[in-house]
Symmetry: C2
């Protein structure tokens, strides 16, 4: 998995900072998560081949998370897109995008599918042979979901030397990768574990923005390799965080610690702060592996 | 009048070019004309005090002319705006902005007034003591208006030496500026022209984008000091211009010549062209005073 931050600042686009959007490369997918104003320009600046985006996941319908979506949908048409585009987000997203296109007497000449989310419990949002995406219900001022993106367990890895030593015919190799015991030349079944090794552990990434401090989400994200958790504020503004249903860096770290995640990526910073280092220092008191998101940065997960 | 180009490229925002938006400073107003995606960032980059924008004029509801509007309206709230904001644009603009705010359970804590335009003939859009804005019906794929912004004739300029020589009491000075004849100390009426001079000629600016070649608009813009006329294409793409209801640089120049304008400002360039100089050269064959708009440029009118 490779995560690229297009924007990770709260509220409004500014000269040097962008509202929320990020791209996750996973198993040949390019998932776009949230789409604040200016996302298509960030995609260009970072030279991301965004025509390959087929799935867009929108957490909630505050402008800094989706006002870039109508423009991106329109741009795809201008670029001659033919592949279907799937958009997952709260109820209302379809009406909004369609109205804005309709007012311009515009349309998409590619299939555009909306998948509106209304569940208040974790739900399967997307699934194919290699990846699963689930919603993570969050606690914000309006209906909001984070997203849990999980690779599925891959095939077992064939050990070619063992297969040769046991005189296994090539026609059984796919069965070995599928975990089956297979016969040798003499017709005796050889146990799978002697012919293959464990597949690499599937990666898991959890995106949690925007949300108040919300320990209810911990069970769902237990042990993920990376957690992006919003930290709009520092503890010094904890009252404001509570009032606006955002989290502090300390609260993000406490969630990361409770869930035992591999690393915590902070983001969705209020633009009131001059720098980001204080976010990291505050979180490090409660969790050891803290990374700071910033516009244009990439993380290997 | 001072015109600042925030963006003057067609279709989609790109790494180095912005969709249409411009700011006109006129008689203490800061008028925003069109508002493509990223307009608020351009306002910041160009250090325009955009909290002073009280009137926004939208030509038509294609995304590259208004997808930045919902974000700007939302940002005004976050910045604590209190002054009323007036938005003038085609029918549907109110529904679009309100829907996007409603979906985010957002609101404006300042008065937001929509003035929807539906006329197909030139109509008064805004007027106060010093400025008048009228719609310029254009010929595009959807309902589109340009805008004619005209200063009103100011007060006559008092000649203090003449007033002293004719022994005019100060209490009559405003009457003199208003063009009236006033009595001298002896009670004899002194004709106004002996006490004052002509006010400066009012400036007139016409904004015409997007439109096909449309000579019908010439009578309304006769003699304006500056005409911004779209030139999406060069003559080599004239067929494409006709098909998409856009204009070429040659056609823009022909409109400028027919209207006898002071200067022609070209813009709304298709991003297919590597540079802008060809637009100027093509237009110069038909009209002598051609300027090239570009993002970030300002023009004194």
């Amino acid at each position: 998995m490779k995560l690229t931050i297009l924007g990770c600042y709260a509220a409004t686009p500014r000269t040097l900072t962008n509202p929320t959007a990020q791209v996750l490369e996973v198993k040949n997918h390019l998932f776009l998560i949230d789409c604040g104003e200016g996302t298509q320009v960030q995609l260009r600046k970072l030279k991301i081949r965004f025509s390959k985006i087929n799935h867009i996941f929108i957490s909630h319908l505050h402008g800094d998370h989706f006002f870039g979506l109508p423009g991106l949908v329109a741009t795809f048409r201008l670029l001659g897109r033919a592949n279907p585009l799937h958009i997952y987000g709260p109820k209302g997203i379809k009406e909004a995008v369609r109205l804005l296109l309709k007012l311009g007497d515009s349309w998409t000449n590619y299939p555009l599918h909306f998948h509106e989310l209304t569940e208040s419990t974790p739900s399967l949002v997307f699934e194919d042979a290699k990846v699963r995406v689930s919603s993570i219900p969050l606690d914000h001022r309006i209906y909001t979901n984070g997203f849990l993106i999980e690779e599925k367990l891959g095939s077992r890895k064939l050990d070619p030397e063992a297969a040769a030593a046991y005189e296994i015919d090539r026609c059984y190799f796919q069965n070995i990768k599928d975990g089956k015991d297979v016969p040798n030349a003499a017709g005796t079944l050889v146990p799978n574990y002697k012919l293959s090794t464990e597949p690499p552990a599937p990666k898991r990434y959890a995106y949690c923005s925007d949300t108040a401090y919300f320990p209810d989400l911990v069970p769902q994200i237990k042990g993920v390799d990376a957690l992006y958790h919003e930290s709009t504020f520092l503890e010094s503004e904890a009252a404001l965080a509570t009032k606006t249903k955002h989290a502090t860096a300390k609260q993000a770290a406490k969630i990361a610690a409770a869930a035992g995640v591999g690393s915590l990526i902070l983001g969705h910073y209020s633009t009131r702060y001059a720098g980001l280092e204080e976010f990291k220092q505050e979180a490090l008191e409660f969790f050891p592996k803290v990374l700071l998101a910033d516009d244009g940065l990439s993380f290997d997960i």
